[in-house]
């Protein structure tokens, strides 16, 4: 069965790009428009990987990650941050929140698929 990935980003075009690329690579993609939406969708269905933007309205990525890690079903689900910031500070925050890794924006679809494959095969 195809693995499911939750893609959280407030930018529709990036979300589309992520969804399209990952779908083309054989994954199922659930899209969410911000952290809150992501959290709701993550509750509806436990996914195999979460990709989240950091800077979003309503709920940012770090809060989403923390909230997800607070849910028993998301203890071990890999979570990657898609971020434009790659400072050590940001990474430290991401790690503290419970992320497993990061991917610096902008990225091209191939890189995205590579990284996702590294994480969930």
């Amino acid at each position: 069965m195809a693995k499911t990935i939750l893609a959280v980003d407030d930018s529709g075009s990036l979300r589309q790009m992520v969804a399209f690329s990952l779908t083309a690579a054989g994954y199922q993609v659930v899209q969410a428009v911000d952290g809150q939406d992501g959290l709701n969708k993550a509750r509806d269905q436990v996914v195999d990987l979460v990709l989240t933007d950091q800077n979003m309205p309503n709920m940012d990525g770090l809060t989403l990650i923390k909230s997800l890690r607070g849910m028993s079903s998301y203890q071990k689900v890999p979570i990657l941050m898609l971020t434009t910031e790659s400072s050590d500070e940001m990474k430290a925050k991401g790690r503290a929140a419970g992320a497993n890794g990061w991917l610096v924006k902008p990225f091209d679809p191939k890189r995205l698929i590579d990284v996702v494959q590294k994480v969930i095969g």
Binding site: A25, D37, D48, K66, T84, K91, L103, K110, V119
Partner: protein, 788 residues
Amino acid sequence: MSIDMSQFYQAFFDEAEELLAEAEHLLLALDLDNPDSEDLNAIFRAAHSIKGGAATFGMTDMAEITHVLENLLDKIRKNEMALTGEHVDTFLEAKDVLNSQLEGHRSGADVDRDVQEEVKRKLKALSEGKPVSAAAEMAAAAASAAAPAAPKPAVVAPAAVVDKMRHYNIDVKALSEKDTANLEGELGLLGDVSSKRLDNGHVAFSLKTEDSEDDIISICAFIVEPEDIKITLQSAAAAPGAAAAPADGKQRYNIEVPELSDKDAENLKSELALLGDVSISKAGGKTIFALTTEDSKDSIESICSFVVDLETLVIKDAPSASAAAPAEDLAVASNGFIEGDGFGFFEPITPPPAAPAAEPEPEPAKPVEAAPAPVIEKKPAAAKKEVEKAAAVETTSIRVGVEKVDQLINLVGELVITQAMLEERISKLDPVTHEDLLNSLGQLTRNTRDLQESVMSIRMMPMDYVFSRFPRMVRDLATRLGKKVEFVTSGAATELDKGLIERIVDPLTHLVRNSIDHGIEVPDVRHQSGKNETGRLSLSASNRGGNIVIEVTDDGAGLNRERILSKAKQSGLPVSDTMPDSDVWQLIFAPGFSTAEQVTDVSGRGVGMDVVKRNVSAMGGVIDIRSALGYGTTMSISLPLTLAILDGMSVSLGDNMYVVPLNLIVETMQPQATDIKTVTGAGFMVHVRGEYLPIIPLYSLFNQPTQITNPVDGVLVIIEAEGKKAALFVDGLVGQQQVVIKSLETNYRKVPGVSGATIMGDGSVALILDVPTIIKMGQNNNSEGVYQ
């Protein structure tokens, strides 16, 4: 796999456009003294999102501007810098530039590079706390430095420009302490920077950025000559500290576990594959995995713990297979993270090892009754509030060409006609013997109507699409004219047909401009007349019956009856001093009419109001004015909801049928002979509830034969348009129904008094009456005898 990024461009264009509009909206509403932090965040996010998208889709020029914009906004939102009017002005300028860049990418239009550079400089100056004027000096400096700063051509192949975080060494010839600090500050805008003074007097900067070499050169050009700069690119892995990571830290392990089921073995293999190359073999009741990885035994153990008991697990070092191992693009960075090019993991990428007591969980997808969740910081209060908000933001849409929608609407129109035909035929059948058929047809009728409504709603767009462009215009105009104007809108969610929405923009723009120029007075005058110095201009839209009413209201000087009348007399228009106000106001729609004492560059040339009226009429709408001298003016535009379908009353005249738009009918009546009065030379009037209305006999207007020529034998339909009422005299009423409008003009030619045609249930063609024109025609045509 290659993916064509251009397929996402349209989505990005639309999204960026929306974000820019939203940012502008928020900027205009910002209170300089006490800016709302949520608004600032939202503006920052807009810049941030556009930057992300622009960079991803290879629109570097937009990414550059949003990058500096974002930096400045970030400082302001973090309260490192106070918001000033200068900021807002520059942000608005930047927004305009971004819009033009967007247009450039979208349509290949030329973008003014000087303007882009100018805005970029201003933003940079501001983010350094310098006034905008400093940007001019910087501009001069840049020009003398041969300015290699021109942004890249508007349309670039995306793959070529998708930048990654890079690490540059920048070597600059002799530089003073001050310049070094300046340059470091500039480079800091691009990314993480550090500087070191070398023995030969050179200064070496180390910069980690996702911007290109060109950007670095253009930044440096403000301070040093380009030929004095040497930039070398380091790979990310060679970043300080990262270099210390062993290039080849791979180790080969043999992992022995008691023989596993095929499923478990597959599971474990796929888990281990996350760490590196793995192969599987079975021997002597054991399953052996050969793994080549740079991860520690601990991480292997933690992975295996999902599937097998740790006690039964044996991990042996195998001879290093580094030579055979495929090159991995991951390196351990100084901060302990595993970094690749543009991505990284905080630890060997495996789900974090659970507490030993936890249930094994090979498939993270399954919700398991795992160990109790550790308590992790949450923000329940904030989260709750955000739930409702989030629901509102959710948008899932598909984009379809307008022509497809129109085709759909057309087909549904045909379906409505067919359905009406069926209904007509079936009404002649015996209802008892054909009960089932009648019931089914009733169902079809309902379904058709629902279908029609849903299809029509596809073309509906919120008025916000029009309203959103006004705040900026009002602000600019008011500033230019030295007036203070508070602009409010209401009913922005009201929906209107897309075709109408696009055509209403120009007339509305004109009315708003007029209100600011002629309506609202300058603060001094307002003060003297006891009004608030700040004028109020409101734009509202609402649904009234089958119409959309859009109103532009100002609390300005109001229309001056005397001045309009005297001007009208000068222009030779037929006027009398006893005309009602509503007729006087209509005079301003006469071509070439302007009472403005002086022509401003904004309005007052006397072209416009007639065009406004013509445009509105062409949309099937009417425009109405209410005004009181000294108190203000309201211009009210009433438009049909849609141009394609009309609720009509069919009336008969001789052998023919006509359709009167239902929204223009006040009432219908069969008059008594005593209510009909003759007016010498002006035809006949009917007395309706204290009002005398002119009778317009349709048969004489259209010159159609009919048996009924006495109003007492027929029906009077009281119609109203543009503030005037009249009684339309027809043979009889047939029924009320929705009709699909077919243009007569495109298929035949314009006929006075007829706005279109439709196909009735029986297949015959009926003309749709143009009520405002008929009332006007009636006034000129009412002199001939009607009856007796």
